[in-house]
Amino acid sequence: MTLHVNDISKSYSNNPVLDQVQLTIEPGEFIALLGPSGSGKTTLLRIIAGLQFADSGSLWFDQIDMTAMQARERQFGMVFQNYALFEHMSVADNVAFGLKMRSGKTRPSKKEIAKRVTNLLEMAEISHLADRFPSQLSGGQRQRVALTRALAIEPRLLLLDEPFSALDTKVRKGLRKSLRDLQRNVGIAAILVTHDQEEALEMADRIAVMNDGRIEQFDTATNLLRNPATPFVADFLEGLSNYMTEGAGI
């Protein structure tokens, strides 16, 4: 269940956004794509999700070529920046969505779906929100629902696109830990896109620092701070050395 990103390149009308990006993510690992806006991190995540396709290069997961596989076939759970909840569905229906979309034999019975949704809501500690609509939720609750919805499809990989940017600073800190705990419990690898250095250093096992469509360095927080490979990395992470001791894994 290892993800290999091999020499992925992508450009928009001759403007290169990704330039031969290489990345390997091991099973169960939590990694962060960290970089300023415009560094290509979101594009890379969307290519991994199958929402966009690379101009060249390939994508392998679990020894299978996924380069041209459509998003709906990948079974990668994704949490969007603004959560992209289905506003016209209740929380329970949002979570059930992925299971209901399955076709033929792989689709569980109605009863089975209801049971699985109940369990998922319990695990995420949002059972009391089951019948609410997204418009009636707080920011933190919306994030919870988005995450639970992504986990409902039993994803093989979890993709997180700036999942904290829509929240205020107070809520953020607490949610970082609970998100990381949840990911550990489920035991799948996760990729977090963020422009927030603290967030990356605090949450990720390994961090890929991105700049101008390239990965400048891919390493643990401690190594990044101790041995920055390029001036950009050193500059980008300046003043954050106190994270060295805490390191990955809150």
Binding site: D7, T24, F53, S58, T67, A68
Partner: protein, 289 residues
């Protein structure tokens, strides 16, 4: 790390991606083709048919049909009606939009609903309403009759029903726009010493001029083309109270189809000009209507 070598680092786009993109493009093209075919068969063909039929006996006959005195008279009457109806509607539209968006008063919502009402009333029903109230035996008409004033079956009747069918057009364009703009700018102008008229002339009007033009163009198309309501109240007097659409019907029923289609080309051209003007205003001033 051994697996990484099994995955070829290709510099070419993946062939499966190309196939996927082609599939998507084909689906798009299919939907676009259906839309264009629909537009061609439902909207394009009738327009072509009008011109084909109008010119089928040659340019000379077409021209003779256009400059036929009755048709010319109908064109004149239609233009005259528009020239009278549009300014009245413009004044009403501005007043209604000003009152509705600049003040709060009881019945404000009701007033908006009433202004929109003509859109949902059948033209024939509208014409009938006018006959019933302003006709010689109608409530108001009977009283006016004692002073020898006739409102129906003449130009006044045509103007009145035209006002009815077009009354929502200008107001409906202005209300949402003026609502969004708010009254801050106007209040600022007042504090700077402008009077009410100056405030309107120099602050409000520049903001709403495109919406005004837009509403007026749509109203014009409706005035010149109104058929049902006008045919009820015009009296259909040959060479006198026939607007252009009525003339089209008259010629058609007289088995002068070529003449009818010739007259229809004039109205079709006005309609096409309306669409072009709409499209131009919309692309040049996308937020002003």
């Amino acid at each position: 790390m051994t697996r990484q070598q099994t995955a070829p680092a290709s510099q070419r786009p993946h062939p499966a991606i190309a196939r996927l993109k082609r599939q998507r493009r084909n689906k798009q093209r299919g939907l676009i083709a259906i839309a264009l075919l629909f537009a061609f068969f439902v909207m394009g063909l009738p327009v072509l048919a009008i011109f084909a039929r109008a010119f089928q006996e040659g340019l000379g006959i077409y021209w003779a049909n256009i400059i036929h005195p009755e048709t010319l008279h109908a064109i004149g009457l239609t233009v005259l009606t528009a020239l009278i109806v549009l300014p009245i509607n413009l004044v009403f539209g501005i007043c209604a939009a000003w009152a509705i968006t600049r003040y709060t008063f009881p019945g404000r919502r009701a007033l908006i609903t009433i202004i929109e009402l003509p859109f949902s009333i059948s033209p024939i029903v509208a014409g009938l309403c006018y006959l019933l109230i302003y006709g010689a035996t109608g409530l108001v008409g009977e009283w006016l009759d004692t002073y020898d004033i006739q409102l129906m079956f003449n130009l006044i009747g045509i103007i009145l029903v035209s006002l009815f069918v077009t009354c929502p057009f200008v107001a409906r364009e202005l209300i949402p726009l003026m609502e969004i703009k708010g009254r801050d700018e106007e209040e600022a102008a007042l504090t700077l010493g402008a009077n009410g008229w100056q405030t309107f002339r120099y602050i409000t009007l520049p903001n709403i001029k495109w919406a005004l033009l837009y509403g007026t163009i749509l109203a014009n198309a409706r005035v010149m083309g109104e058929f049902g309501a006008v045919s009820v109240v015009s009296g259909n007097i040959r060479g006198e109270t026939m607007t252009l659409p009525l003339q089209v019907q008259l010629l058609y029923d007289d088995y002068n189809a070529t003449g009818a289609f010739a007259a229809a080309t004039v109205l079709t051209l006005i309609a096409l000009l309306t669409l072009i003007a709409r499209s131009v205003i919309e692309s040049a001033h996308p937020h002003h209507h």
